[in-house]
Symmetry: C2
Subunit: 401 residues, 2 copies
């Protein structure tokens, strides 16, 4: 018995997705990965360079995160995929035992590299670190993510900033499709050591704001067949309405029994809207980036702790919060930390926001299971609006960045 | 019974010092304060602006700190002593329930203010924050520390940077003496609300590197009578040998039954040497400042984690450490965090160093109690030297800042 338990403990769980409940278009489920379970809808905090900015792993885990996202582009440049692999993979290097998803680098090539050249074969770009030219092909993107040892890898895609010429959107979408196929081949023919642990490869639906293109992309990708599907090329310049319309239109194009991932989104409101349109997974830097800049997300709407009226306020951000940082520190203290330039302020607000995002989706999961997701979403919006501190509505108020 | 326990729990302990053991000149003891016990020799981490830089309170407490130091100069300028008092005092503002010691501002007036004018009455200086002129008298220094609610307040002194002209050292020492007397009067005649909680006032022995002056200062201060005595004006430019000689000479001039505090010192070696010369309390920014700059203090000497040879090193800083950050993260990961500019690296090394300093003095206390402090000190030096990583001795090595 002992031996059998030990054997089971050592056998990594292969990737799988189980739908637990639906409520309208909203879905609650579970993703099994070699490093554990991910409850969906899931918020995945962003550890671009193998660290959630300013926040200790223990706090990330305590916030309720089941999985984190790391960045292929950044990690292949520093410390390099081969070095991470030699050190036992990213889980070992980071001392992060839970699941890791890695994006493929396509988005960062677009946003960070001044010089880049896209050909059929690959994208070549100038490293923002040392100026060297680096080539990233679909096959290399898969190899890098295998070397990192991520539980969920993303295909390499070409991401176009919106608005863009229709022809440009078509070209990038079709190239991304061909790259998806090459990624899948590379993933399936990877050396045994990369395959045996039940890792997954997700495709990325492209097509800009053209629903016909999005549909062509989604159909072609599902014909190839992946373990999950992301919506890419969103939150890149289009309006929020356009984004939500595309999400609403695309989600039903994707297999009902596989996870759907909206990349790089978004505000608490965006998350609830997208969950209501059938999305299962999110990643975003908003909780930590805004936390570092003094903005706290709370049940009563966002609070800009740098505003002067907090200087004398002994109340915590939320006395009822599950988050110790939201309960135990006064707004006056948090305000002081920001005024004094103490990085602890950004750390505490990042923690507050990570908890808030996790609790937002935990409540969404419960609401979906109970068949009252629409009510939960509506109540959240009312609470953000009506219970908001009056002072936060003033002109020196709140800007989410 | 219940009622009596409750009553006792609410009665703050008045300040007192109890000597538990001596071993040569080294002493182990306990300071009782209104916010709890401080085991001596004690290392007091520095929270200049009401926060230990980059480190969460929970980690500071877990490191074993019994007390922290905050800064009168900084807090009176921002957020202001009156504001802290209105918010319930510094313990409440910070959510720090353990003892707090505050320095008087004398040292910061010397080191941070470009323009300052010392008269018999007070020191007037230009705020480094907004350029306004601020006056700090002995009476105001006591009032500010009472408003902050610190468990241990320090007299206002004039601190002279060494080397200095003898006449200048004499003048500053004698002024500091007269200010000590005024501080005591102000402290004793303070409104009831400041006195009833058993707070303490320490004097500061001055006199530069002139032992005769130091003796005059120590005698005069003990004649006035304080609850503890600090050695000030050290670690301000003199050599380490001079500092230790002054410590060795001054400690015996101070009452045996009261705590002795060496301000602003120092390296792990400095601490052990000073404990061996009869010092009970230390504060220093070295653990956190060096941590932020990539230097870890360990049982095997200091390690500069930014050195290139750590990039592929899977070993933790110290697998046997009580500190989770020293045990659970590889040198390769810590190196990566610094290379990548992730502030988490500085946070983790600051935590490592805070634990190391606490453990260094915890072991000193145990050694003193066991009558083997000289052995412990000697073994520590041998271990720092002989078990040091060979690579750390190279020219790109280790510079404590």
């Amino acid at each position: 018995m002992q031996a059998r338990l030990l054997y089971e403990a050592q056998m990594p769980e292969p990737f799988s997705f189980r739908l637990i409940a639906t409520d309208g278009a909203a879905r609650a489920g579970e993703i099994a990965t070699p490093h554990g379970m991910v409850r969906t809808p899931a918020f995945m905090p962003v550890g671009t360079q193998g660290a959630i900015k300013g926040v200790h792993h223990d706090d990330v885990r305590a916030s309720g995160a089941d999985i984190m996202l790391a960045n292929t582009y950044h990690l292949m440049l520093r410390p390099s995929a081969e070095r991470v692999a030699a050190l036992g993979g990213l889980h070992t290097l980071m001392s992060w035992p839970l699941p890791i998803i890695t994006d493929s680098g396509g988005f960062q090539v677009m946003s960070l590299s001044a010089l880049r050249k896209v050909t059929e074969a690959s994208v070549t770009f100038r490293s923002h670190l040392d100026g060297t030219m680096v080539e990233l092909s679909p096959e290399r993107a898969v190899e890098v993510q295998s070397l990192l040892g991520s539980d969920i890898a993303m295909q390499l895609d070409e991401c176009v900033r919106l608005p863009a010429e229709p022809a440009e959107i078509v070209r990038a979408m079709e190239l991304s499709l061909r790259w998806a196929e090459r990624c899948k081949r590379a993933f399936e023919s990877a050396p045994d050591r990369f395959q045996k642990i039940g890792r997954a490869l997700f495709a990325i639906v492209q097509g800009g704001d053209d629903l016909k293109l999005r549909e062509r992309s989604a159909r072609a990708l599902t014909d190839i067949g992946f373990q999950g599907y992301a919506l890419g090329g969103l939150a890149v310049g289009e309006t929020r309405e356009v984004m939500l319309d595309i999400v609403a239109a695309c989600a039903p194009m994707l297999p009902v029994d596989q996870p759907r991932y909206l990349m790089g989104v978004g505000t608490p409101a965006d998350l609830l809207e997208a969950v209501g349109r059938g999305i299962d997974m999110f990643d975003c830097v908003l909780p930590t980036r805004n936390g570092r800049h003094g903005l706290a997300f709370t049940r009563f709407g966002p609070i800009n702790i740098k505003n002067a009226h907090h200087a004398d306020d002994p109340r915590p951000l939320d006395a009822e919060s599950r988050c110790p940082a939201a309960r135990n520190f006064s707004r006056a203290y948090l305000h002081h930390l920001f005024r004094a330039g103490e990085t602890l302020g950004g750390t505490l607000l990042s923690i507050v926001n990570l908890y808030y995002y996790q609790d937002l989706l935990a409540a969404a999961r419960a609401a979906i299971a109970a068949g009252r997701f629409a009510d939960y979403r509506a109540q959240s919006f009312v609470q953000w609006r009506d219970k908001r501190d009056r002072a936060e509505s003033s002109s020196d108020g709140v800007k989410i960045i």
